[in-house]
Symmetry: C2
Subunit: 238 residues, 2 copies
């Protein structure tokens, strides 16, 4: 079910990746959390070798940072990295949505409509896990429909990155983007209006980013320095 899955098969390693990713976006696993191989191995009922493979894959996706001889932990993307990720994602998704406008079929439009309906349903039922999953899946669905395999792959890793970033920098205000903006994107695609679709996608991603604490003024106290120097010092450095 999860869309993150690396290989299509019933791969144990891919399942481990998915579970870790899910724990991160659900904020069960906080950024910086230590990931001990043996512990994970026991949790998932596999050997350490499998866990190790999963960690390597997750590092490639930027979800965990892997330091030689010192183990793995959930990555802590900086504000700059966060902005980079959104910037890259915008570039890719603009291209994807434009491309889809030119080639989308009616069947695909129905599929997208169906997906948004499911998003709405999950939203109303308050199933936050489904909301998160489906929300990401919408973007991946568009990517897959464009049949640009490479951009699809790139977007997959970028989505993983932004998932982590969202989990890390999110405010109480906006947990996830509602399905409404997705609907607007879909409408533009259905109208085969490239410019509008691009604009809606841009708006959507900018909205997503702006709902995070990425400004200088109110960063989260995740960084040790900031946290320990306290508010008094921050005025000086800023």
């Amino acid at each position: 079910m999860p869309w993150l899955t690396h290989t299509a098969k019933n791969d144990v390693v891919a399942q481990i990746c998915d579970r870790i990713w899910l724990a991160v976006v659900q904020r069960t696993l906080r950024p910086g959390a230590r990931l001990k191989e043996e512990e994970l191995a026991e949790i998932f009922g596999v050997t350490r070798a499998r866990v190790r493979q999963a960690l390597v894959l997750l590092e490639q996706d930027g979800l965990v940072s892997l330091v030689p001889n010192r183990g793995a932990c959930i990555a802590e993307p900086s504000v700059e990295e966060a902005q980079d990720a959104f910037s890259a994602r915008l570039l890719i998704e603009q291209r994807l949505v434009a491309r889809l406008c030119a080639r989308v079929t009616d069947a695909q439009l129905d599929q997208l409509r169906d997906h948004i309906a499911r998003e709405r349903s999950a939203h109303e039922m308050g199933d936050s896990e489904a909301v998160i999953r489906l929300s990401g899946e919408f973007h991946m669905l568009i990517a897959r429909m464009t049949e640009a395999e490479l951009l699809f792959k790139i977007l997959r890793t970028l989505t993983i990155r932004t998932s982590l970033i969202t989990a890390m920098y999110q405010t109480q205000a906006t947990q996830t983007c509602g399905p409404d903006e997705h609907a607007r994107i879909l409408a533009a695609i259905a109208a085969r209006d490239e410019a509008r679709a691009c604009a809606e996608m841009t708006h959507h991603l900018n909205h997503l980013e702006s709902a995070l604490r990425l400004s200088e003024s109110d960063r989260p106290v995740s960084e040790l320095r900031e946290a320990l120097l306290g508010a008094g010092q921050r005025a000086k450095t800023g």
Copy 2:
């Protein structure tokens, strides 16, 4: 020295990756070539585990295809995949070069000039290995200078892909792009002319792609079917 290197450290695995990549771009290892783990392990004087790690990384970069229980071989990107790769690379590099125009320093310009000089030198001396390496490095240098870490990473894997594609589909006519087009790109960057820099980069990449046998009419006879049916049959199928 090689710019492909995955991790900055003196990582044995990264070296294996580089050696394999180099063998591919030098056409010593042809697409489709079988990569037996034990064989590689013996060649590089390492254990199979290391080779395995390298193969996983190379698969992520699209240089080798890895089939469960059936081993690894040099990937054989289809024409569609080749076009996708160039298309994606164009998208990324346009962005990168535009971004660099806005932030390039004089020192960086000197560095680029110096690089092109080395390209020229290698070109004149007929050192084809250096030409290939430096040619790729020029693009990576631009990417690094923009300080967009993510786009840099993405471009790295795209460059690996296009290296393979070039090796696979290249004609006798153009082995590699000469340093002249790089010089034109640099000139546009030096003039801080975003539009022109983009255009030059676009021209350069299109030139690179158009020098390959990517058209329907004359595909390489890499596929077994094509190769063994012979020219007589090809007329029928085409």
